[in-house]
């Protein structure tokens, strides 16, 4: 019965699965060359530049880093409140 239970039951993750998962996590951090401080600076400067031209929800701005297969990606999510009349 124990054999059957193991056959049909939940398999424990193999050490291979664990190795793969740990590697993917550790590499995600290794590959990031952008510190949290730099991310904050980028966010502040983006807010300054963009709000010169359009009205944005400053509190809602999010700048994040994500790791693709070999290249990182900066993602800025900037909620607009509507354009200000001013044009440059």
């Amino acid at each position: 019965m124990k054999i059957l239970a193991q056959l049909f039951g939940q398999r424990r993750p193999s050490s291979r699965d664990i190795a793969k998962e740990r590697l993917q996590l550790v590499l995600a951090y290794d590959r990031i060359k952008i510190s949290p401080e730099l991310l904050q600076t980028l966010k502040n400067e983006l807010i300054t530049v963009i709000s010169k031209h359009v009205e944005i929800d400053r509190e809602g701005v999010e700048v994040t880093f994500s790791q693709g297969k070999r290249h990182g990606r900066l993602i800025a999510d900037i909620p607009l409140l509507g354009t200000r009349g001013r044009r440059k």
Binding site: K2, I3, S15, R16, A19, K20, R22, V26, D30, R70
Partner: protein, 265 residues
């Protein structure tokens, strides 16, 4: 035609860089290529012993770089293959005895006379590694299917790309098929997925490697050894031939899986 300069590197030590360099050099030589193998691991030379040439060293790469001898005087002719030469590292100096510019200059001097220049890089990401990749046209990254080796390989891939020496390609060494079969080791697909670079070869764990190292006769010369065949295949791929990857049985069949459950039960 000018030689292709290929650097063999890994980041982590002990994954088989020197074994790979020795075997690919001999295999390319057997295939009729004119080859120079350069040991860039100054202070910890070993390519000479793996090739069985340790008793023939008179001059080394530092002597050449410093002008104490001519390049031709330092090149040691291989025992087994007629068109293969070794440029040994110095044993009593350190990595700063040679500069990346020296390496590039030395390789450029040899380009017209050879088809391949293979450089055995030391472990690490410091000066020795910089020396080894400076002249490279192509880079081969050696790793084993282990967490620490794959992590270091990833770091090296990043550095190779930053130096614009890429795209690097990958050799996965010391694959233990029976462990992969039972989910106790990363498989080749896992490693390729994680590192996201081209696969150039898969070399199975092979006890015959130890014997070949003992004797100083590279395993590619042993026609029965699976690892020898794997290295010969990589050499043929370097020459542009389409060679299928070795059929290392990595997946357990149903019977084996059942047997495993029964044993565990």
């Amino acid at each position: 035609m000018a030689a292709r300069v290929i650097t063999i590197t890994s980041g982590k030590g002990g994954v088989g860089k020197t074994t790979t360099t020795a075997n690919l050099s001999v295999a390319l030589g057997v295939l009729g290529q004119r080859v120079v193998a350069i040991d860039a691991d100054i202070g910890l030379r070993n390519l000479d012993v793996l090739m069985g040439l340790e008793n023939r060293i008179v001059y080394d790469i530092v002597d050449v770089a410093e002008g104490y001898c001519r390049l031709r005087q330092a090149l040691i002719k291989d025992k087994h293959v007629s068109e293969l030469y070794l440029l040994p590292a110095a044993q009593t100096r350190d990595k700063t005895a040679v500069s990346p510019e020296d390496m590039t200059r030395l390789c450029d001097q040899m380009r017209d006379d050879f088809d391949f220049i293979l450089i055995d890089s030391p472990a690490g990401i410091e000066r020795g590694f910089r020396n080894a990749i400076a002249p490279a046209d192509e880079v081969l990254i050696v790793t084993t299917p282990e967490v620490a080796a794959v992590r270091d390989a990833d770091r090296i891939i990043g550095l190779v790309e930053a130096e614009e020496k890429g795209p690097a390609s990958l050799i996965i060494n010391r694959v233990k098929p029976e462990m992969v079969r039972y989910g106790n080791m990363l498989n080749t697909a896992d490693v390729v997925e994680i590192l996201a670079i081209d696969l150039k070869g898969i070399v199975p764990e092979d006890k015959a490697i130890i014997v070949s190292t003992n004797r100083g006769v590279p395993i590619v010369l042993d026609h029965k050894a699976p690892a020898g065949l794997a290295f010969r295949n990589i050499a043929r791929r370097l020459l542009g031939e389409e060679v299928p990857f070795l059929n290392i049985r990595e997946m357990p069949n149903l019977i084996e899986r059942l047997a495993r459950f029964v044993r565990q039960g």
